[in-house]
């Protein structure tokens, strides 16, 4: 394993360029990032600075134009699409700003989805779903459809779905961006508990200083570069 003991995510010399017609957009350039196991990292920066792009690279949803992305010792930027899909299912839990629940499925069915990619039996799946819903405090809402849940409850369902497979890494893209302060605080408390009590490594994109205060470390992304200091 090339990754050091404590380092879970290693992003090295990453460039990510998009093309909009003939116009070249260098969103990330020469970017380095190491995330130790067990960290709760907040990723901040102005809108359009490339936070989502970086998160997608780490989560294997996108590939760098150049450079390497290593997670738990594996070069995910070099995997085939097929292997990458299987890798995501096993190692990553995604939490989205707009929850991205499937509207025609109940909360528990939504949570069960990632388990369909495992070899668990139906009863094992049910047990895992119950545990995940219990962790997020949504046991009594398990049979509800997303539209009958509040924003905070939908996000908790989203978190249950992200943790149900017990992934190595949780990636959250503005998880409280669509919530009021109170629900947002509950979600942040939940993430903090997952980090402290369950040892989950979390990378959270946010532009809410309130949210980043819950993290163990905060990094700032601006003009394609990362820094530990908030840029002026």
């Amino acid at each position: 394993m090339s990754t050091g003991n404590g380092v879970l995510v290693r992003v090295e010399d990453v460039h990510r360029t998009f093309w909009r017609g003939a116009e070249q957009i260098d969103v990330l350039s020469n970017l380095h990032l190491e995330v130790p196991r067990g960290e709760f990292l907040a990723l901040m920066g102005p809108s359009g600075s490339g936070k989502t792009t970086l998160l997608n690279l780490i989560g294997g949803l996108d590939r760098p134009t150049s450079g390497s992305v290593e997670v738990a010792g594996e070069r995910i930027d070099r995997m085939s699409n097929r292997r990458l899909a299987a890798w995501r299912a096993r190692h990553v839990g995604f939490i989205f700003q707009f929850y991205n629940l499937l509207p025609v499925l109940t909360a528990e069915r939504n949570v069960e989805l990632p388990l369909l990619l495992t070899h668990l039996s139906k009863s094992e799946r049910r047990r895992h779903v119950e545990t995940a819903l219990h962790v997020v405090g949504l046991t009594d809402r398990s049979g509800h459809f997303p539209r009958t849940l509040s924003g905070g409850e939908q996000q908790r369902t989203g978190i249950a779905r992200a943790i149900v497979t017990d992934p190595t890494l949780l990636l959250c893209d503005e998880p409280t961006g669509d919530l009021d302060r109170k629900s947002g605080d509950e979600i942040l408390g939940l993430l903090q508990a997952l980090n402290r009590e369950h040892g989950k490594t979390i990378i959270m994109v946010t532009h809410d200083p309130h949210a980043s205060a819950r993290a163990t470390r905060t990094v700032y992304l601006d003009k394609g570069r990362l820094s530990a200091e908030k840029p002026e």
Partner: protein, 394 residues
């Protein structure tokens, strides 16, 4: 593997459950497919019914003799001497009264078609032993005609389709008047669409002298056909062509059956193209509307293959619903529907019933599934190709 199937199953169930969210487009696509299937089944049931009416699988032990070069009874002609030679040929079954052959002639008369009120051509056949030779003719009403009298019996289909063929009614044909004394069923081929009488009465009425047009012969066994045929075709006194009755009927109806089938397939193909675009449109909008959901599933780790298959299955489910409705409607509307049409090879009317057969229904369902598969394939591929990161931004 079971995991993979569970994936596809879960995705398909999920997809199908989203159908009510786009009712309009889904119903339009299903109705389009239902229309294709209904037309396909409807038109081909005509061909099927016609095929059945012509009883293309005729009995193997009845042979037919025509003048060589004739391609139907209409254009054939045989004299008394030839008829005698044919009756004496080896392989012909015999009874105490002699060989089981029927020398027949055939004239076309005008009757009024009930459904349209128009004049149509109907064959009037003179037979010598027509009922005995065919063996399967049954008088279902009245009685058989008596030899030597101006009496006729009408086929069941003819009696149904054409006016003035009730038992007891009289008709003016040639220079004389004839009485309908019975209705018959059976006889093979389009016999039920014909009217029969005694050949000896028909000949003078139509100035046919001593001539006939065909001889039907009952053979001792189906295998005796070759012997019968060889002895006639090698006899220098005869210039004849010998066929099994079934072969003849198949030949007589093949053109019409192919024509009708051709129209059915053509019309259904045109409509299928329309329905295909409807299905494509529905499925493209379905995957477009769900782009973010599909991207979410892929972010969770669902594979492209599973997503493609599930979108196609959704499309097939939609097509099967439409196809099932169309097939049921066609069955309900067309099966057993009775009609008569012109057989252009004999220029006479053939009565038949539309037949919606199980193979026809199966073929229709295959069409529906085909439309579903092609309607789902390209949208499915698009759904699976769209970069996840991009689709998640929508």
């Amino acid at each position: 593997m079971s995991n993979w199937l569970a994936q596809i199953w879960a995705l398909t169930v999920y997809n199908v459950r989203t159908i009510p969210q786009r009712k309009g487009a889904a119903v339009a696509a299903a109705v389009g497919i239902a229309g294709v299937v209904a037309v396909f089944v409807g038109v081909l049931s005509i061909a099927e019914g016609f095929r059945a009416a012509m009883a293309v699988t005729g009995p193997a032990d009845i042979a037919m003799v025509l003048r060589s070069g004739a391609d139907s009874e209409m254009t054939s002609g045989l004299g008394r001497e030839q008829v005698r030679l044919i009756a004496d040929a080896p392989g012909v079954a015999r009874t105490a009264e002699g060989p089981l052959t029927s020398a027949e002639l055939f004239v076309i008369i005008n009757l009024v078609k009930r459904s349209t009120g128009t004049d149509v051509n109907v064959p009037l056949r003179g037979v010598t032993q027509g009922i005995a030779v065919r063996g399967d003719v049954k008088i279902v009403e009245g009685r058989a005609f008596e030899p030597g009298r101006n009496e006729v019996i009408a086929g069941r289909g003819a009696a149904r389709e054409f006016a003035g063929l009730e038992v007891g009614s009289r008709m003016e044909v040639g220079q004389s008047e004839w009485t309908v004394v019975g209705i018959f069923a059976g006889g093979g081929g389009s016999a039920e669409s014909e009217i029969w009488t005694d050949a000896a009465v028909l000949q003078p009425a139509f100035h046919r002298g001593d001539s006939y047009q065909s001889v039907y012969a009952r053979l001792t066994t189906p295998e005796a056909f070759e012997q019968f045929k060889d002895s006639l075709t090698t006899n220098p006194q005869l210039q004849v062509k010998v066929l099994r009755q079934g072969e003849y009927l198949a030949e007589q109806s093949s053109m019409l059956i192919e024509f009708i089938s051709g129209i059915g397939v053509f019309v259904a193909t045109m409509m299928a193209l329309g329905a295909l675009f409807g299905a494509l449109n529905t499925m493209y909008s379905a995957v477009a509307a769900r782009a973010r959901e599909i991207a979410t599933l892929r972010a969770l780790g669902f594979g492209s293959a599973a997503i493609i298959l599930s979108v196609m299955l959704e499309s097939v489910v939609l097509a099967l619903l439409g196809g099932g409705v169309g097939a049921a409607a066609a069955y309900w509307a067309f099966n057993g529907f009775e009609a008569a049409t012109m057989n252009w090879q004999t220029f006479s009317q053939v009565a038949f019933a539309f037949a919606v057969t199980p193979p026809l229904l199966a073929a229709a369902i295959v069409w529906a599934v085909g439309i579903g598969v092609f309607g789902g394939l390209f949208p499915a591929i698009r759904a699976a190709r769209l970069p996840v990161a991009m689709a998640l931004r929508e």
